[in-house]
């Protein structure tokens, strides 16, 4: 039984891809891998899960990375960006051309794109901006305008500042140390950029704290926001139940959903940011949780008693 028996037109693939290049870009690394099936199926916002450490490794969990770019050369290549801060990513940074990596992808739900040509603001924190450039291309195909707002601790940690300036209708950069662009964090500038760009839709990717603040501000301006979350994952395909976070469904019920298969892209206001890392008391299946009908009745009773 080969993987080929289970190929579908859109589903993820597990491939052994040859490394083309590993480049250092300021504080980050970008690795390009030949993976035609993954490249062909890719939509902006999706990610790959990579096995690290080689045979007999103690690094049992896959590392998940947003896909930065796909290109048609060599039948199809996939590039992702990472910070070599941990054991697994240091191993990845040491890969060289012709090494082979086992990766699965493309995984997760992509960014939904608007039907009409609207004004889109793409907000990225650190290397969280990596998936935003493929999204920008796709939005421009839809005749949307694209503004960028990128931020990080320092200039060398703002990924893609140059591309943003070259390709965006506008590009605003913030750094905490002031080494590039405006001193501060992205949310300091968000209101101004929204105002100047007459933003209709926001897309954001970066640390959870940033996504939470971007969502709060977008809500204040009544602008829809799509966020790609960065939850710790172990498998990337939905079997390990590690990467859950509390998300409100269209039925109003909060569920602990897997960010790898139900995300990583969510509508910002659906994520219960204040309760990330916890099980909200009213989440589906939480201790003491009851089906909604019965809960409504009991609150009615409580209301009558008050």
């Amino acid at each position: 039984m080969t993987a080929g028996d289970h190929e579908s037109e859109t589903g993820p693939q597990q491939v052994r891809g040859t490394v083309l290049t590993v480049r250092q870009i300021d504080a980050y690394y970008a690795i390009t891998i030949v993976a035609p099936g993954v490249a062909a199926r890719f939509k902006p916002g999706q990610f790959v899960a990579v096995a690290v450490g080689g045979p007999d490794t103690s690094m049992l969990l896959r590392r998940a990375f947003s896909i930065h770019d796909v290109r048609p050369d060599h039948g199809g290549t996939v590039e992702f960006v990472f910070s070599a801060g941990g054991r697994g990513t240091r191993w990845l940074a040491e890969r060289r051309a012709r090494d082979v990596l086992d990766l699965t992808g493309p995984l997760g739900r992509p960014f939904p794109v608007p039907r009409d040509p609207v004004s889109c603001l793409l907000v990225g924190g650190g290397y969280g901006s990596a998936p935003l450039f493929a999204l920008a291309d796709r939005l421009r195909e839809r005749r949307c305008s694209v503004d960028f707002l990128l931020g990080a601790a320092s200039g060398d940690r703002v990924f893609g500042a140059l591309t943003a300036r070259r390709t965006g209708r506008s590009a605003t950069i913030t750094t905490v140390d002031g080494s590039l662009g405006v001193r501060g964090i992205v949310t300091d500038m968000l209101g101004q950029v929204i105002h100047e760009a007459r933003t209709d839709v926001i897309y954001a990717c970066g640390p959870m704290a940033m996504l939470r603040q971007v969502t709060a501000l977008a809500r204040r301006y009544d602008i829809p926001v799509q966020v790609a979350v960065e939850e710790a994952m172990a498998c990337g395909i939905g079997v390990c139940m590690t990467c859950v976070l509390p998300v409100v469904g269209s039925d109003g019920i909060t569920r602990m959903v897997r960010s790898c298969v139900d995300g990583p892209v969510f509508r910002g206001e659906q994520v219960r940011w204040d309760e990330v890392g916890t099980i909200p008391f009213d989440a589906f299946g939480a201790p003491g949780w009851e089906p909604k009908v019965r809960r409504a009745e009991s609150s009615k009773r409580a209301g009558n008693g008050a």
Partner: protein
């Protein structure tokens, strides 16, 4: 000639002894994107409970240099959704379904067994009496011979007679043979071993425990020697009781090792997180290992390490 990999699980003949381990493959649907779930021996489902359950807070996973820790806390949709959605899907794909069940009380286990017996197509029930990720360690039935027996007896009484009942044991006990004996006396048709071991990791930079649930179940190759020991000890004491062996199986050689210790089926768990097609690969590798040793039937190697005369393969000359 390709070795005959068929093994029996109760009334069912499995095409081979390789299964998914409970909790590592959900209910099979996600893995079907990467492997044909009908071609492995069986899919052992994530433990299903009576009610939906949200599980434990995050972080739920910690990778260490000697195994990974998980603290999921049995998140799942509950038996109704399982019977409505997951079991029919597994059967529609031609997979054999071994359903793992978990409860907080003996009655809950019994009710789950009854519900599964009313449904068609359950190949076996695996009774998870050993999940370490529960609120109270006192709830881990598998740490006490009498508690284990009470659950197994209740499940056996409610489960349809043609559905084999396997008890999943914890290695976190002084004498696993005593627990195994107790389960078999209570009517268990077989034993699954081992579940994860209770472990903990502390982040030396933040000075806090890594897992939100503080403790978690240790799995991966680090625990394989413990699995081999447990299976070997129980097989020696209870040679006629079928065993599903699991614990850190990453390769076909690892699977063969557990077969030699006395397991007649092998479940693959943590390896799936590393490689979603691990079950298919391990099956292929096991086939190669047996072929290379000239083994014609996989059943010949089950428990062979207990036979001092050595029935398998060329003996090394010293």
């Amino acid at each position: 000639m390709a070795p005959d990999l068929r093994v029996r699980l109760g009334a069912t003949e499995l095409p081979n002894p390789i299964m998914t381990a409970s909790g590592c493959a959900s209910s099979g649907r996600e893995l079907a994107q990467f492997i044909d779930v009908s071609k492995i021996g069986a899919v052992v489902t994530k433990s299903v409970m009576l009610a939906p359950r949200a599980g434990r807070p995050t972080p739920r996973m910690a990778e260490t240099s000697s195994g990974m820790l998980n603290s999921i806390g049995l998140q799942g949709p509950g038996i109704d959704a399982f019977l409505q959605r997951d079991l029919p899907w597994l059967l529609s794909r031609g997979a054999r379904a071994v359903v793992s069940i978990a409860g907080s009380t003996v009655d809950e286990y019994a009710e789950l067994a009854a519900r599964l017996s009313d449904a068609a197509g359950v190949t076996a029930i695996e009774v998870n009496i050993s999940c370490p990720n529960v609120e109270h360690r006192g709830q881990v039935f598998a740490c006490d011979p009498a508690d284990s027996a009470a659950v197994v007896e209740a499940v056996r009484a409610k489960a349809r007679h043609d559905i084999p009942v396997f008890a999943k044991l914890s290695p976190d006990v002084t004498d696993i043979v005593a627990i195994a004996r107790s389960c078999v006396s209570a009517g268990a048709d077989g034993l699954s071993m081992i579940n994860t071991l209770l472990g903990m990791a502390i982040d030396v930079d933040t000075l806090r425990p890594v897992l939100a649930g503080l403790t978690g179940g240790l799995s991966g190759p680090a625990i394989r020697p413990i699995a081999v020991r447990c299976v070997y000890q129980v097989r020696a004491a209870l040679p006629d009781v079928p065993i599903i062996g699991m614990g850190g199986v990453m390769t076909g050689r690892d699977a063969l090792e557990l077969l030699l210790a006395g397991a007649s089926m092998i479940a693959v768990g943590t390896a799936i997180f590393h490689d979603p097609s691990a079950c298919a690969r391990i099956l292929r590798e096991l086939d190669d290992e047996l072929l290379r040793r000239g083994v014609r039937r996989v059943t010949e190697v089950i428990g062979a390490a207990h036979d001092i005369r050595g029935a398998v393969g060329p003996r090394r000359e010293h």
